[in-house]
Amino acid sequence: MFLISCPWCGERDQTEFHCHGEAHIARPENSLEMDDAAWGDYVFFRKNVKGVHLERWTHDHGCGRWFNAARNTATDEFLAFYKPGEAPPADLERVS
């Protein structure tokens, strides 16, 4: 079971959290001008990386806040936790 550092609360058990998949997918502002393929890419397609994955988490049974995490999907090692709107740490790819 993971030990997760909520950026607001600190280290807590994984049972308090929920993962919501890939992070940094901005909602298109011009959706009506997008063709089906481009919109479908936003709605349906996600990365399936072996290595560093930037993903969204919520601290459901805690502060209720959303945040992002960088996790190596091959080792389950968390490399960073950061708040929404913040950029992921720059040197993540090297870590993996």
């Binding site: 058990d13 009506l32 080792t75």
Partner: protein, 997 residues
């Protein structure tokens, strides 16, 4: 019976007290400190079970939790527990145990014919034999399960209590042998919060069966000193009888503490039977020791043949030896101490060593103790008849593949073997740690750790077999300064000669003798070779095909032997074969421990409305809706559900009814951007909603699929009250938070769940207003409070919010009062309603009434693949709004195509037939399935209000809108074929006048 095999002295047992116990109906005696295994050995009972596949007689192999053979059905009735290991059961007075997997009795077991037919039970037997005909598999499985069973599951509810506990030690030490004790002591002196766990009832591990000295005192005295010092430290927790069973990510470990097992089933009610510990440890030290592996020789599974270290443990810990004439068979020096110690106790010992020479100290010790040594030799056969009679010994060839010369028969009543030592790397392996092969001791030891589960292995589990180095490594891992405890350095294994399969007088696998490497699942060296010949190269495939290591012991004594056998026959090195992965649990754990205290009323939370108790008092029948208990209907005496629901349905349409809608999801929205947010969340336009007005809306996900609906009301300028479905409340709040936090953080909206803050009572029916007016002086006329209006009033002296919204199509008022007034106002309404013959109705009637109006229930009539168009609700999708969640998906090629399933009404040809929900609508009836399915029934009820009483249904059917007026076929699951007419889904008041009255 007398304890004939008990030595006159020695052992850590309390000889002053005698315990009585029963095994297979016979009564025996033992002493406190015994295990069931040692007590049975003391009484000369060697036959303890029948093997899994061949039903061969089996006895003890080990003295610890690695025991593969002696699986016991412990106790009877509700307390019975199958597959417990005799070596792990502490003896208590009155203990009752039975052997397993035998019929009619252990001595005369009919399943032994499997052994005579063994050439027909090769590796992969089940895969090869029971493949076809497929229809017979169920029969085969039944027979296999009975023939190859283990113990019997309890049939009564578990009467015992279990609990979970959490702890966060800075240092978790697993194993209280010399290395573990040194680590725990060192950690304690360094001021750490230490937890030390060990599966045995007392600390000491291997020291309990040794004659070593540490820091100048006897090992047992040193252990007693450490125990006393650890007890002094306030931050140290020592848990005995506690097995670390699982090692998970980020140093999360679980352990089962057997709190009362040693007291028997009648232990105190104040104590849980088992306690499951959940540790999150800063650092972990594994000091789990090593497990001896047997030599794989002819008929090495006969009762009375043990591991050499087990014999030593039985002698020193329990004061018992398996016989008077012992043969020790070894390929290393460690078994010499077994021979020497047994000989010192007066037993006649013959030592068969496959090497030509052993270490000097070992040889000298054996000779001095009077042990007969047969060097360069091997056991090639075992004579067994109701007990061990003798073993055959022959000279072993230099390359270890043949035996030569005359057969020497060595009479004996017991034997043991040592094929080397396997560090107990199970927890390291569970923690995704890598292994390295040690060339000198021919065994696997821990290598690199995974980054998420940092730990260190010390002592024998690290492949370090000398006592002095174990103490040093443990001490260093604990973190204390100061000198480590020290012991004399004794070479324990010496030069090991790998001998993975011991040859015999016929080619292995081709004669009557069997060479077992895997005892619990009955797999032999010949099975491994067969798997290899059939092309199973990967060790993981071989493991599954031969079932090696897949029994409840996870191959603690068998896995490395299997790998060695494969390596030697393939002519490659052991590391080239690879290793299988150990997985949790280390030893089986009970469902009780896993569940802990979370059973019965603690298993699942129940949510009740403020009116629940009144409903219970008035005969409501409840149903579960999510976590909620909801009143489903209120039967009068003599009424079944159908009768009650018909009465309730008619009364609402003709008079008035009262319904508890408190479970409805409610979200309070405040802030200057709420209107903007609602425009994004709902498909319709919200900009023009005036204060005091309500509006219905559909929510879509970004796929364009309906996921919730409800009414939102503008309470004040920047203050809205949103309602959701009962089941969707948490999901909708999460949805709002997701967008506000991640995509629109600049928007000023506060969203708060107020589901439990308001009690909601729905008055429905033509006389609803009359009931309300009896309780308020405020104006609730149609002008003052029209349909889709909202007003705050005083109701029965209580501040109330009243919404003119309706889920029945009747004149309706949803009255919200603070939850603490819920029951009071409800009772006032019931009293006021009496004059109007008001009925109290439940969720079943609510369902019928809304279906009569064609109102959907999200999640029942829709399933996550329905767009507003599919539900014939285009009217609620704004064409003008620039954007809302899901909008773009509504024009995707797939969501806008023809032939999608669409919501329609269905009227069955027979008006008394209520179609089963889920029934398939097919385009063509055929004699038998499959038939082309074009849709299914989503809601179906008997309506007393349509056509004087008939069945109605909602369904989703491909191209359903264009089929209205057509007849469709439904083959029902009971074989009937029925027809129904596709109609508009609004069955009552199609013009929608009544709701506005």
């Amino acid at each position: 019976m007398t304890q004939d095999n008990r030595l006159p002295a020695g052992g850590l047992i309390d000889r002053s007290r005698t315990l009585s116990f029963e095994f297979d109906g016979k009564t025996y005696t033992g002493h406190p400190g015994d295990t069931l295994a040692s007590a049975l050995m003391a009484n000369g009972v060697t036959l303890l079970g029948r093997s899994f596949k061949y039903h061969r007689p089996r006895g003890l192999l080990a003295a610890g939790s690695e025991e593969p053979n002696a699986l016991i059905q412990l106790e009877r009735g509700a307390h019975t527990e199958p597959n417990t290991r005799a070596t792990a059961i502490e003896l208590y007075d009155g203990l009752n145990a039975c052997s397993q997997n035998r019929w009619p009795s252990l001595k005369y077991d009919i399943g032994v014919v499997n052994s005579w037919l063994s050439r027909f039970f090769p590796a992969g037997f089940y895969y090869k034999t029971f493949m076809w005909p497929e229809r017979l598999w169920m029969t085969y499985e039944h027979v296999i399960r009975r023939a190859a069973g283990l113990g019997v599951s309890p049939r009564l509810p578990d009467p015992d209590r279990y609990e979970h506990r959490h702890d966060q030690p800075e240092l978790l030490v697993v194993g209280a042998g010399p290395a573990g004790l040194a680590a725990a002591l060192s950690g304690a002196r360094a001021g750490k919060r230490v937890v030390l766990v060990d599966e045995n009832p007392q600390l000491g591990g291997s020291l309990l069966g040794s004659r070593d000295t540490i820091d100048g005192q006897s090992a047992l005295d040193w252990v007693a000193g450490v125990r006393a010092e650890l007890a002094e430290h306030p931050c140290v927790r020592v848990l005995t009888r506690t097995t670390l069973t699982g090692y998970f990510d980020y140093n999360y470990l679980i352990a089962t503490e057997h709190v009362t097992a040693h007291l028997g089933p009648q232990a105190s009610d104040d104590l849980p039977r088992q306690r499951l510990w959940k540790f999150r440890a800063k650092s972990v030290v594994l000091a789990t020791g090593a497990i001896e592996r047997p030599l794989v020789f002819a008929d090495n599974d006969r009762p009375g043949i043990l591991l050499a270290s087990a014999v030593r443990t039985y002698q020193h810990r329990f004061g018992v030896l398996p016989g008077r004439r012992l043969v020790v068979f070894t390929n290393n020096d460690s078994a010499y101490s077994t021979a020497i110690d047994a000989a010192s106790a007066g037993v006649a010992v013959t030592l068969v060593d496959c090497r030509d020479t052993a270490g000097d100290a070992a040889e000298r010790g054996a000779d001095a103790a009077g042990v007969t040594r047969m060097m360069g030799s091997a056991i090639t056969g075992v004579s067994y008849r109701n007990g061990l009679q003798s073993v055959d010994v022959m000279a072993l060839s230099a390359d270890g593949t043949r035996v030569d010369g005359p057969v020497q028969k060595v009479p004996c009543d017991s034997a043991c073997s040592s094929g080397g030592w396997n560090p107990a790397v199970h927890l390291h392996s569970q923690a995704k740690g890598k292994l390295r092969w040690l060339e000198d001791t021919h065994t696997y030891a821990p290598a690199a750790c995974a980054s998420t589960m940092p730990h260190s292995s010390v002592g024998a589990c690290d492949g370090e077999f000398s006592l002095d180095q174990a103490l040093n490594a443990g001490w260093a891992a604990g973190g204390a300064t100061g000198p480590a405890p020290s012991a004399e350095r004794v070479a324990s294994i010496g030069a090991l000669r790998p001998l993975w399969v011991v040859p015999c007088d016929h080619p292995v696998g081709e004669g009557p003798k069997k060479h077992f490497h895997e005892f619990q699942n009955d797999a032999t060296a010949a099975d491994l070779w067969l798997a290899q010949r059939e092309g199973f190269e990967s060790i993981e495939h071989t493991k599954r095909y031969t079932t090696t290591g897949m029994a409840t012991d996870q191959g603690k004594t068998s896995n490395v032997n299997a790998i060695g056998i494969l390596a030697s026959s393939r002519g490659i090195t052991v590391p080239e074969v690879g290793v299988t992965t150990f997985r949790p649990p280390y030893t089986p754990l009970t469902f009780g421990a896993i569940v802990g205290q979370n059973r019965r009323h603690l298993f699942h939370m129940v949510r009740k409305t403020p009116i629940h108790d009144w409903q219970a008092d008035h005969g409501a029948v409840f149903e579960d809706v999510g976590d909620w208990k909801r009143a489903r209907y209120y039967p009068k005496p003599g009424e079944d559900m159908d009768a009650a629901v018909r009465r309730e349905c008619q009364a609402v349409r003709e008079g008035v009814g009262l319904f508890d809608a408190s479970t409805l999801g409610k979200i309070d929205l405040q802030g200057e951007d709420v209107a903007w947010l609602l425009d994004m969340l709902y498909t319709n336009a919200w900009g023009g909603l005036a204060v005091g007005k309500c509006r219905y809306g559909l929510m879509l996900n970004e796929h364009g699929m309906v996921f919730d609906d409800g009414v939102t009301t503008r309470v004040a300028e920047n203050h809205y009250h949103m309602t959701t479905t009962t089941g969707g409340a948490a999901r909708v709040l999460g949805w709002i938070e997701e967008w506000l936090q991640t995509e629109w953080p600049d928007k000023r909206v506060h969203a708060t769940s107020v589901t439990e803050q308001w009690a909601v009572m729905a008055l429905n029916g033509p006389r609803a207003r009359a009931v309300l007016e009896a309780l308020t002086e405020d104006d609730v006329s149609n002008d003052a409070l029209p349909f889709m209006g909202f007003k705050e009033i005083q109701l029965a002296g209580v501040p109330a919010r009243v919404f003119r919204i309706s889920f029945t199509g009747e004149q309706a008022f949803e009255v919200n009062v603070p939850a603490r007034y819920g029951r009071f106002v409800w009772e006032q309404m019931v009293a006021a309603g009496a004059a109007h013959d008001m009925v109290i109705y439940g969720t079943e009637t609510m369902h019928v009434l809304r279906a009569e109006k064609g109102f959907i229930i999200v999640g029942q009539d829709s399933d996550g693949t329905m767009t507003p168009s599919d539900l014939d609700m285009d009217w609620i999708v704004s064409k003008k709004k620039a954007d809302f969640l899901g909008k773009r998906s509504l024009t995707r090629s797939d969501t806008s195509r023809d032939g999608r399933k669409q919501l329609v009404g269905l009227l069955s040809e027979d008006p008394s037939l209520v179609l089963p929900e889920g029934a398939h609508v097919v385009s063509e009836l055929r004699a038998a399935p499959p038939m082309p399915m074009i849709g299914h029934v989503t809601s179906s009820y008997f309506s007393p209000n349509v056509d004087g009483g008939r069945s109605i249904a909602l369904a989703v059917i491909q191209g359903g809108f264009k089929r209205k007026g057509d007849w469709v076929d439904l083959p029902l699951i009971d074989g009937r074929r029925v027809r129904a007419k596709v109609v508009d889904p609004v069955f009552v008041d199609a013009a929608g006048e009544r709701v506005k009255s």
